[in-house]
């Protein structure tokens, strides 16, 4: 059985890439980085590794239990079935799409995933802003069908590692667009900038991990518009560089809401979308988008400076 964790090998690559982007930022876009934000993002990455080692055992145990009920058996030397690897990668990415979508649409899962979005910057260090509490959600349930289908948990873990490595490089403003064929099929910096944006038009869009086709298939795709600057972060920006607050703020907010809510609304604060409230005092992403659409249709949209003007390299280099 292969004993291989691709992300472990990728760590040094991550460090070198962040270093290279910082040097690019120094000369082209110094505002793209902020030292305190970078420190928080990288600390998230380290904490996530530790949390995964401490809390990941349960998810792995569940996967091995599910594997006993597999429909297809690739045999005792499953890793030698070469075609199972790309198939597993695609299916795992499909599962990732739905898990990620749930991560934005169910507050329990958002409490863990919001970590990845809480930076107001979008650079390679943001990619490492990974959750500490993902194992306290039910995200693993989205992967179990792939296990039951017959793919070994280790094969899925390795494919998931490569999936995560792929997603690293798309967290940048240094690349504007990839060639059209690539943009059509793959997740790219442009598609993922949309995902990290708080502009109403972009909220809860582009959930893809590696293949953007899932968003195109399931109606959640939104292309990046060049004449509207992207704002990164979350709808209600934290305004704090406190690492622990950044990690746990949504858990604290959710548990407080559950505690204070009338008992017949408590479950909704766990399972409804972020922004839902029993008294209508808050806004969900759908409400914010609807209000924005109504306003724009009423007023007519005004042109805004291009993202490219804030990003000289991207402006000069159409396709990377």
């Amino acid at each position: 059985m292969p004993d291989f964790n691709p992300t472990q090998y990728a760590v040094s690559l991550f460090v070198v890439a962040v270093l290279a982007e910082m040097i690019w930022a120094k000369f082209r876009a110094p505002e793209a980085y902020e030292p305190k934000d970078t420190l928080v993002s990288l600390s998230f990455g380290l904490g996530s590794t530790v949390a995964g080692a401490l809390l990941g055992g349960f998810a792995l145990w569940l996967m091995f239990i599910a594997y006993d009920y597999r429909v297809i058996d690739f045999g005792p030397e499953w890793w030698t079935v070469w075609w199972a690897w790309p198939l597993c990668f695609v299916l795992d990415d499909f599962a990732y799409y739905w898990s990620h979508r749930a991560g934005h649409r169910i507050r329990w899962m958002w409490a863990a995933h919001v970590n990845h979005h809480s930076s107001q910057h979008y650079n390679l260090s943001t990619a490492l802003r990974q959750t500490w509490t993902g194992n306290l959600t039910f995200g693993i349930l989205f992967t179990l069908p792939v296990v039951v289908l017959g793919f070994h948990p280790v094969m899925i873990a390795i494919c998931g590692g490569f999936n995560l490595i792929y997603q690293f490089w798309i967290h940048t403003e240094a690349i504007k667009r990839m060639p059209a064929w690539f943009e059509a099929v793959m997740n790219t910096p442009s598609h993922h900038r949309v995902h990290h944006a708080t502009n109403p038009r972009y909220l809860d869009r582009n959930y893809a991990g590696v293949f953007i086709i899932w968003d195109r298939m399931f109606g959640t795709f939104e292309p990046e518009v060049d004449d509207e600057p992207i704002r990164y972060g979350i709808v209600k920006q934290l305004g704090s560089f406190n690492l622990l607050w950044s990690v746990f703020h949504e858990w604290a907010g959710m548990l407080t809401d559950i505690w204070r809510a009338p008992w017949w609304h408590k479950l909704s604060y766990l399972l409804s979308e972020p922004g839902w409230s029993h008294d209508g005092s808050r806004e969900t992403s759908d409400m914010i988008r609807a209000r924005w659409q109504a306003r724009v249709e009423g007023e007519g949209a005004s042109p805004a400076p291009s993202v490219a003007t804030r990003n000289p390299i991207a402006g000069a280099q159409e396709a990377a």
């Binding site: 472990q8 760590v11 460090v15 962040v18 270093l19 910082m22 040097i23 930022a25 120094k26 110094p30 505002e31 793209a32 980085y33 902020e34 030292p35 305190k36 934000d37 970078t38 420190l39 990288l42 600390s43 990455g45 380290l46 590794t49 530790v50 080692a53 107001q120 910057h121 260090s125 708080t198 109403p200 704002r231 972060g233 920006q237 934290l238 305004g239 704090s240 560089f241 406190n242 607050w245 703020h249 914010i288 209000r291 924005w292 306003r295």
Partner: protein, 142 residues
């Protein structure tokens, strides 16, 4: 003594993290972008809450933040956070305190969220703004 791989990896990562954050600081990345123009305040206010259109604005002398009021009488506090800006539409929990610290600040605004922190601004006509903010509280209690 055998050091567990996780400990070794964590220690190595910690060194890399501190080195990268230190490099970002050394390269002077993330320069502050002062907020001194009303148009910038309008743009940022609309980013914080889509459709928020200020009719009155008070910018901090040093560009560290601003207060903005819309036609409905809502007041938004904007303050710097690193080299970005964050803000809140003030509610009845907000308080404003006038202070006379020449060269430092003349008003302290607390939006009522402990983790969001207070804003220390030097603005024109601070008494009027403080009164308007503190009245949010009075209106709520009335």
């Amino acid at each position: 003594m055998d050091v567990p791989p996780l400990v070794l990896q964590t220690a190595g990562s910690l060194v890399a993290i501190l080195a990268l954050a230190g490099l970002a600081w050394w390269l002077r990345l993330g320069p502050a972008l002062p907020l001194t123009l009303d148009d910038e305040v309008r743009r940022i206010a609309a980013e914080i809450e889509d459709g928020f259109t200020p009719v009155a604005i008070a910018c901090d002398e040093e560009g560290a933040g601003a207060l903005a009021r819309d036609a409905q009488g809502r007041i938004m506090l904007i303050r710097s956070h690193g080299n970005r800006f964050v803000g809140r539409v003030l509610t009845a929990k907000a308080t404003a305190l006038l202070k006379d610290h020449p060269g430092e600040f003349n008003i302290i605004i607390d939006c009522g969220e402990a983790r969001f922190g207070k804003a220390f601004l030097t603005i024109a006509d601070p008494a009027t703004w403080a009164d308007a903010i503190n009245r949010l509280h009075a209106v709520h209690d009335a």
